[in-house]
């Protein structure tokens, strides 16, 4: 019994210590935002990798989801004569929830994994030590550009995802469900409010930050060898996905609680 309690205590203390190290890492990363030097070229590369090159996967995900959402709302609304609200519900569903969450999760899958694997490999092959011996702070050179790029790029990706999701709903609505194009678009535009867009972009920024932070944390603290890289990558994606979904609940509550 004592041994079990000791093990639980050690596990708890280890968990808290890890949480403390993670918080210190996140805090240090944020403080580097206001402390030079800054590596503009690294930021540009990160923006390209995280933002521009994520557009295809984000676009396709949003397009298919918007279309499927339109079909579901039509079928569900049909049960109580509310199938006419498809444009409004697709719009609000995409902009408030599905756009940010799906983009966040796709970024976690594509970007978090990539960051974690890249940094973990750099850790394993001593490239991060090499940076230090070249008197270059890895937090500034590797972590900050990725965090900043994700925080800036993911809201834009979310905006694009929202629009393409609505487009997916419009394609299905007008092509399959018999909606009139002009009426569909007018209903969509009339229904959305500035707060909907604001919440979407804010969620994008938070999700982008979390996705990059998890990738950087797990990559920079990776264990040795191929197994270390694999664990870092898996851990980063899982942590990012869970953090994004948890943050989504908190932000939805903050923006839309009555």
């Amino acid at each position: 019994m004592i041994a079990l309690l000791a093990r639980i205590g050690a596990w708890t203390l280890g968990g808290l210590a890890g949480l403390g190290r993670f918080a210190a890492f996140a805090g240090a990363a944020v403080t580097h935002l206001v402390r030079p030097p800054f590596y503009g070229r690294e930021l540009a590369v990160a923006l390209l990798q995280i933002g521009w090159l994520s557009l295809p996967v984000v676009g396709l995900t949003a397009l298919f989801t918007g279309g499927a959402l339109a079909l579901q709302i039509y079928a569900g609304g049909n049960r109580f004569g509310a199938e006419a609200v498809v444009p409004q519900i697709v719009a609000i569903g995409m902009v408030r929830e599905l756009g940010p969450v799906l983009v966040g999760l796709m970024v976690a899958a594509r970007v978090t994994s990539s960051i974690a694997a890249e940094l973990a490999t750099m850790r394993v092959t001593e490239q991060i030590d090499a940076l230090v011996t070249l008197s270059t702070d890895p937090m500034k050179y590797l972590v900050l550009p990725r965090l900043l790029a994700a925080t800036l790029a993911v809201p834009l990706l979310v905006g694009v995802g929202d629009l393409i999701g609505i487009l997916g709903g419009w394609i299905v609505g007008t092509g399959r469900l018999g909606f009139v194009s002009a009426a569909y678009l007018r209903n969509t535009l009339d229904f959305l409010e500035p707060l909907d867009w604001a919440s979407s972009f804010a969620k994008g920024a938070v999700f982008g930050f979390l996705a990059a932070l998890m990738g950087c944390w797990f990559g920079m603290t990776s264990g040795r060898g191929a197994m270390g890289v694999g664990r870092a990558t898996k851990g980063a994606v899982v942590a990012a996905a869970v953090a994004i979904l948890a943050a989504n609940l908190i932000l939805t509550e903050a923006f839309f609680s009555a």
Partner: protein, 250 residues
Amino acid sequence: MSAPAIETRALRKTFGDLRVLDGIDLAVAPGESLVVIGGSGTGKSVLLKCILGLLQPDGGTVRIEGRSRAALAPRDFLDRVGMLFQGGALFDSLPVWQNVAFRHLRDGMARVEARERAIETLGRVGLPPRTADLYPAELSGGMQKRAALARAIAAEPAFLFCDEPTAGLDPILAGVINRLIRDSVDRLGATAITITHDLTTVRTVADRVALLDGGRIRWMGPAAAIDHSGDAHVEQFVAGSDRGPISTLR
């Protein structure tokens, strides 16, 4: 008498229950090339990383030119350091010339000038200009080592550290790398510490040799004395024997 360029006193480092460094006392004179030898897993790389600040020692001190390294701003020391890692540790997202010119580019040198200097440094380690635009993954192991050495010496460091510089290379390429390190030390007048278990490296690169075993320096002497040291640890190491004071179980 001037202070040693690099000095460690009672340096200790443990990992869990494993005591890797157990009171290391070393002094390297300015311009001297010290080679630290010892079996695999005896803490040679840990010693180097503690001196560089990549690992935090559990006890003891590291002094650079008489000043505590802990009291120095990281850049005050590291800006004068060149380090050749065992695996090269070239940045695989950058072409070779940007690896070599990394410090120059970071410090704002024009890219055209930085590239020219990188190609010149690559030439010094026997790599042709065409390698400048290749990525590290496109180079052979020996070429990667030479490119990594070019990066280490590009900024003409006052301190040169080499971790197993000939690991994984054939004897001829190993000889080339050893000669390049010795030439770099002579040309730059740098203080050098090289970690190796390769006796050819010892004979080419070292002014002085220290043997590390069981977390302690067991023997230290001039490179010329390694074949008749009279020390059981050194004799076992040189002979490559499994019998002697150096344990084969690590």
